[in-house]
């Protein structure tokens, strides 16, 4: 037996186990009795047979055509095996982590990339010494050690910071965190070391080819293949034979039981990450040796391919990972030449990823748990995993345990973190980029950023831990202040070291964005020391950090309401400063459209440079403070309650008046905003429509779809083909004629994607849908379908929407149409949420087997979710096509899918209002803050990690999900999980 043993859920089920067991049995009987999916099954059989026939015809044609000779076919096999070995090396890391934790470390590809980049820096330096040519293997070994160490460290840090706190949370949450970590690491590397392609030095001993058994093989290729096999066998032996390996298997089987048996679970899991990271580091170096060029995106595609390989082989299975890697590599290399060219498809190699993902889909249809099979059958629902119902800690009736105090050690750690964060934003060039814009008075955004870091973390450090059941509330006092001060001290100290370091050493050779403007240039702006010369500058840095930390800590001394009012004031001032141009336009628009004189207000608030003036900042801050304080005054009756006290007729009048005002505001909004800001709202609105659609699939039905962009593309292309007079159809019909076709095409696409994945769950579903997304983009782009879809040149001349006599031209008019669609999508979401099918979705999300036993038709529920989601995305695509007026395949890459997913998760999954807010903040805001553009993905990544760690339910959660993921409850669980039997021990 190879690989990890079956994993049992570390958590108890929510349902009474016996009831659950009975329901399961019932579900099994139902399955056995009826042939469950006759239509679907016959459809899948048709797909299988068609695929086999096409492959056979293509292969026959290619081989008999004599286009390639037998040596070239053999070459292609070798290339495939070599490329596959690279995938296999990365896939081993995915599989190890999955085997133990049942968690896909999506950021593993980035750990690999960091190994490759480390390899570049070390080998580049070594190549300047004599060692490189004299003792190449010694030199390479040194490089290897460095790569493995750095990658292992990164993997360990990731585990500690991003994953460990989430252990036991529903599985979607660490997965999203991993996606965030992946973006963060990519763009952190880009910011620190530059975006350019780095070229490995030549290793002379590895040049040239060897021949055996008629196969010509490059020496580097041989090295990679051997390395993959050695690592696979080594790992297998390690896991099966060694003591640590046994501990790993024990943890995989049952974490709590393993802990009881004396296994250090945390250490074992860390070790798994460390080993996986080290292997990724080695893979990075080998990649560098084979392909010679690496850069910050090097890990992304190979990572996805390796992820695919791990899934293909049966995730959690080591031999499966290698087999999967080799399969993907060979299919990519041989598929286009062997099958596609044989079918007379032009530019076949453009479609190699299509072939790879189609192979994945086909194999998973045949074997839903991969080639070798997973070690376990996935029986759990995805989004909602049962959470432990925790009992309050053992305290006598009516008695409270002592309050949990502010943790000073944590404050110091946060301080160091704040310092590192400040160093990081300086080293990636953010401070410098941001210092070009003045926000308040002469204070630039860069300065504000440097001060904001100790402020925010000082606030976090000075906060008492959340109150949990059975404990007394903590009283504010000196400790809050001290904690804030400690944060300031920590961050000030780290910054000081950094400032001294870059003042004395030139590190631009490696860290390209550490410019002399930060400190070193004495005539420069000296951004880090706020314009002061060095000895004094250090004092200024320290003083400012201490002051910021202390001020933030002191906030906790205020009563809750006043503290929040101060925050509201600060946030209002910051918002008015950041969004200066938007507020300018709003005020100007109000003056022009509503004839309300606002020019004096503008002059009062803003300076001629565009920055908020000091008196403006003070006024806005005071206003924010005041409004919050007034709104939360204790004797205030909520508006709703006051409304209900009124007589019936008055109530109706008031409601109508409110509605009229809202309609009027919405009606005037595009005029007040002007064309540009309307355009920004349009962009956010299109994403919003998509997000509402994806919310149905992921939020309601709990199916993780990473290829949602496919439906968006289908909608856009359908519209373009039907309405553009110059498309391949050339009919040039009206937009409204195209709409039913868009709905039909999107629904068909939803069905097409939904059917093969009916039996797949969780990670399989995620990777297969991601594959479908890429397949769609590549087909629209391909030379093969160019006569239909226009290939790289897309479809242009998509006309505007026409409503009766009105031509919807320009962003302001467009916004009205978009409003209508958004309202429709929101209405559909609300209506579905409480409908029969909506309840079925939610039941399915909680537990599929149980839902089925209760009579939910799973096939209908899944397909209808896919189709509904697809239709909304398709309509979004239709609007996108007419808005841009042209459709290019470049607009539909995987980043769109990820952005939409981030919108719903950050906004609040399954919550319509949350999704609206998410779209405005995540899509609209970056359009307004152009400074952030370069750092967009870095911030997305950081935001995802932060949200998942601190507020996994999103900005505005749905009630149901909030129940599932409550902070206090998590905290309580953590406290219980840490096995603290003596309640008195926690106060210290």
């Amino acid at each position: 037996m190879l690989g990890f043993p079956p994993v049992r859920s570390p958590r108890e089920p929510r349902l009474e186990p016996r009831l659950r067991g009975r329901l399961r049995a019932l579900a099994d009987r139902r399955r056995a009795r009826a042939v469950q999916l006759p239509v679907v099954d016959s459809f899948l059989w048709v797909v299988r047979i068609a695929a086999v026939v096409l492959i056979a015809i293509g292969a026959f044609n290619s081989i008999t055509s004599g286009r390639l000779d037998s040596q070239q076919w053999r070459d292609l096999i070798v290339f495939g095996v070599a490329q596959g070995s690279v995938y296999a090396l990365i896939a081993l890391g995915y599989t190890m982590v999955y085997g133990v934790l049942r968690f896909i470390n999506f950021a593993h590809g980035e750990v690999f990339m960091i190994g490759a980049i480390t390899g570049y820096f070390v080998s580049d330096r070594l190549a300047r010494t004599a060692l490189w040519d004299a003792q190449p293997f010694v030199a390479l070994f040194l490089v290897l050690v460095c790569c493995m160490t750095v990658s292992a460290l990164v993997a360990l840090t990731l585990e500690r910071v991003a994953y460990r706190p989430l252990r036991g949370a529903p599985r979607l949450i660490p997965f999203i965190t991993a996606i965030g970590a992946s973006f963060f690491l990519q763009y952190a590397v880009a910011g620190l070391f530059g975006v350019d392609v780095k070229e490995y030095p030549d290793v002379k001993v590895l040049n040239g080819t060897l021949t055996f058994l008629g196969f010509r093989i490059l020496k580097v290729h041989l090295l990679v293949i051997v390395a993959a096999l050695v690592m696979m066998i080594g790992l297998q032996v390690f896991v099966e034979r060694s003591r640590t390996g046994r501990a790993m298997r024990a943890v995989a089987e049952d974490q709590e039981m393993a802990r009881l048996m004396g296994v250090d679970v945390d250490r074992t899991i860390a070790l798994v990450f460390g080993i996986g990271g080290a292997m990724a580091g080695a893979a990075g170096l080998l990649f560098g040796l084979v392909f010679r060029n690496v850069f910050f995106l090097t890990g992304f595609l190979p990572g996805i391919k390796a992820f695919t390989a791990a899934v293909l082989g049966g995730i959690g299975n080591m031999v499966g990972a290698v087999l999967g890697g080799l399969t993907i590599g060979s299919v990519e290399s041989l598929g286009p030449s062997l099958v596609l060219s044989g079918l007379d498809i032009p530019a076949a190699h453009q479609l190699k990823d299509v072939v790879a993902f189609l192979a994945l889909v086909l194999i998973l249809i045949f074997r839903p748990t991969g080639i070798l099979g997973e070690r376990v059958a996935d029986e759990r629902g995805e989004v909602a995993v049962a959470r432990r119902r925790s009992a309050p800690p053992a305290a006598r009736e009516g008695e409270l345990l002592p309050a949990r105090e502010v943790d000073l050690g944590r404050a110091l750690r946060l301080g160091l973190l704040a310092g590192l964060a400040a160093v990081f934003v300086s080293a990636i060039g953010m401070v410098q980029r941001f210092s070009e814009r003045e926000i308040v008075g002469e204070v630039s955004l860069g300065t504000l950023l440097l001060v904001a870091i100790p402020l925010v973390l000082g606030y976090a450090g000075g906060r008492a831990p959340p109150q949990i059941e059975g404990f007394a509330a903590a009283r504010p006092g000196r400790r809050n202040l001290t904690a804030g001060l400690l944060v300031g001290l920590g961050s000030g100290a780290v910054m000081t070291v950094f400032v001294l370091l870059i003042d004395n050493f030139d590190v631009r050779d490696v860290f390209v964005n550490i410019s002399p403007d930060l400190v070193a240039d004495e005539n420069g702006p000296q951004l880090l020391t706020f314009g002061n010369q060095l000895p004094v500058g250090i004092l200024v840095v320290l003083a400012l950090n201490l002051a910021a930390g202390m001020a933030a800590g002191a906030l906790h001394l205020l009563p809750d309401r006043w503290r929040k009012a101060v925050l509201a004031g600060a946030i209002a001032a910051a918002g008015f400063g950041l969004l200066q141009s938007l507020i300018h336009q709003l005020l100007r628009g109000i003056q022009e459209e509503l004839n309300v004189l606002t020019a004096p207000l503008i002059r009062f608030l803003y300076q001629s440079s565009g920055a908020l003036s000091w008196q403006g900042a003070a006024a806005v801050g005071l206003a924010g403070f005041g409004i919050y304080a007034v709104r939360t005054r204790p004797d205030r009756t909520p508006f709703q309650a006051r409304l209900e006290r009124l007589p019936r007729r008055r109530q109706r009048v008031v409601s109508l008046a409110i509605l009229a005002v809202v309609a009027l505001v919405l009606g005037e909004l595009p005029q007040i905003l002007g064309p540009f800001y309307s355009e920004v709202l349009n962009i956010a609105g299109i994403f919003l429509v998509m997000a509402l659609g994806l919310n149905i699939v992921v939020g309601f039905a709990g199916m993780l779809d990473l290829g949602y962009v496919a439906f968006f593309a289908v909608g856009a292309y359908t519209t373009a083909l039907i309405t553009s007079p110059t498309s391949s159809l050339g009919v040039g019909w009206n937009f409204w004629v195209a709409v039913p076709f868009v709905v039909l095409a999107a629904a068909a696409a939803g069905l097409l994607v939904g059917t093969p994945v009916l039996r797949m769950r969780g990670d399989y579903l995620a990777i297969v849908t991601l594959g479908f997304g890429e397949i769609a983009r590549l087909l629209f782009l391909s030379d093969w379908l160019k006569p239909t879809f226009g290939g790289a040149q897309g479809v242009t001349r998509v006309p505007d929407i026409v409503i009766g006599p009105i031509d919807v031209k320009g962003p302001q008019a467009f916004l009205y149409v978009l409003f209508a669609l958004v309202l429709l999508a929101a209405y559909v979401s609300y209506a579905l949420q409480d409908s029969r099918i909506g309840r079925a979705w939610m039941a399915m999300r909680e537990d599929e087997a149980v839902a089925e036993a209760m009579g939910v038709n799973i096939v209908a529920a899944k397909l209808s979710a896919f189709i509904m989601g697809a239709i909304l995305a398709g309509l979004g695509g239709a609007l996108f096509a007419t808005k841009i007026g042209s459709v290019f395949p470049q607009s539909f890459d995987v980043v769109v899918s990820i952005t939409v997913l981030v919108v719903i998760i950050v906004g609040g999954m399954a919550s319509v209002r949350g999704v609206v807010l998410g779209a405005l903040v995540l899509v609209g805001l970056p359009e307004l803050l152009r400074e952030f553009e370069e750092y967009r993905f870095l911030l997305y990544g950081a935001l995802l990690i932060f949200m998942m760690l601190s507020r996994p339910e999103g900005f505005i959660p749905s009630k149901r999900r909030a129940q599932e993921l409550h902070e206090e409850e998590l905290e309580q669980d953590a406290w219980l999980g840490a096995g603290a039997p003596a309640p008195t021990g926690s106060g210290s």
Partner: protein, 421 residues
Amino acid sequence: MGKPRFRAFALLIPVALVAAACADDDSTTTSGGFEPGELGAVTINSGDPIKIATIESISGDTASLGEDQVRAVRIAMADRDGELLGHEIELQVEDDGCAAEQGTTAAQRVVSDEQIVGVIGTSCSGAAVPAMEILADSGVVMISGSNTSPALTSDLAGEQADDSQPGYFRTAHNDIIQGTAAATFATEELGATKAATIHDGDPYTEGLATAFGRAFEDLGGEVVLATAISKGDTDMRPVLTEVVAAQPDIVFFPIFQPEADFMAQQAKEFPLLANTDKLMGADGLLSDTFIEIPDTEGMYFSGPATPKGAAYDDFVAKYEEENGEAPIQAFHAHAYDATNMLFDSIEKVAVEDDDGTVHIDRQALMDALYAVDGFEGITGSLSCDEFGDCADPAIDVVRNTSEQVTIEDVRANVLFTYKPE
């Protein structure tokens, strides 16, 4: 307690209604004897600046392409001491990100400011298509220094292209010319009869590879393989195996880095391609980081001819002084000429009142640009045709050999220059 608030609502409604009713009335402020044409006019009061905009790619992979041109525009402004007709010139810089969506947003920003007279841009043809639709609606002219897609103007045989819009001009060559130049060099100078083309799915590379293929077949050759890779690919060996099997005399791959790096390096492993004299790239690869790769030695490149002459040397000197480095891409000179063409045309059509107010009629400005004939720029003598192609298109084919060290050396190693009749 609630009452005053409701009264406030009630008050708000008529106010808003009145405001909404008033919102649409259009007031035209004309002074003096100036009558604007049907596309409207820009009026610059005395003391106000004349505003122009650039829509260039200044972020992402293609940032250097746009940055190079924005710098050239600034030099053109500085050459006039930042003034035109006694008014200061103000430049608004917008980013097109080399993508259709961002081109749209940038164009919306431009048209939302009615004072903007004209635009220099875009960097990429894909961004120009939607941007120009928006600009054309407002009658704003745009001159690009680096769009090359035939779809924006014409097929050069008198047939208007699908995406051609009034008010669109460019000083860069049409792809058809570069494709023809490269194909002519391959057949006439290298004696090639069989060609393979590889693009990467980018509209620019796909368009150029297609144009090359057409021209090559028109010249009597045969395209034995027209294939493609994807951006992000690293293993080029399978596709190179196909290329080798087709036995071409020339492989034209006008793609970008880093995919081209992999292509050149891995081609070395195939005997047919090992001495690299069958490999040909295009202007996207004419950069220091590409030619310093040892495996690119012997490769040919097609690209716009490097301008020569004192005026250009003068320009480069200013560029270096201002930016601390030599020009970073191939199209700065084109952007410089575009800017000067725009300024000259503005000067030609502007109507000045006695008080220093300047009127620029949009239709007149567009007509003046279409009428440009024999404009002496640093890229040659420019004349605009009825579809907006203004370039004086000279395409060089250059070669990177062991003697050339920097990109300037390679650009100077001209083997062949193509100029259409």
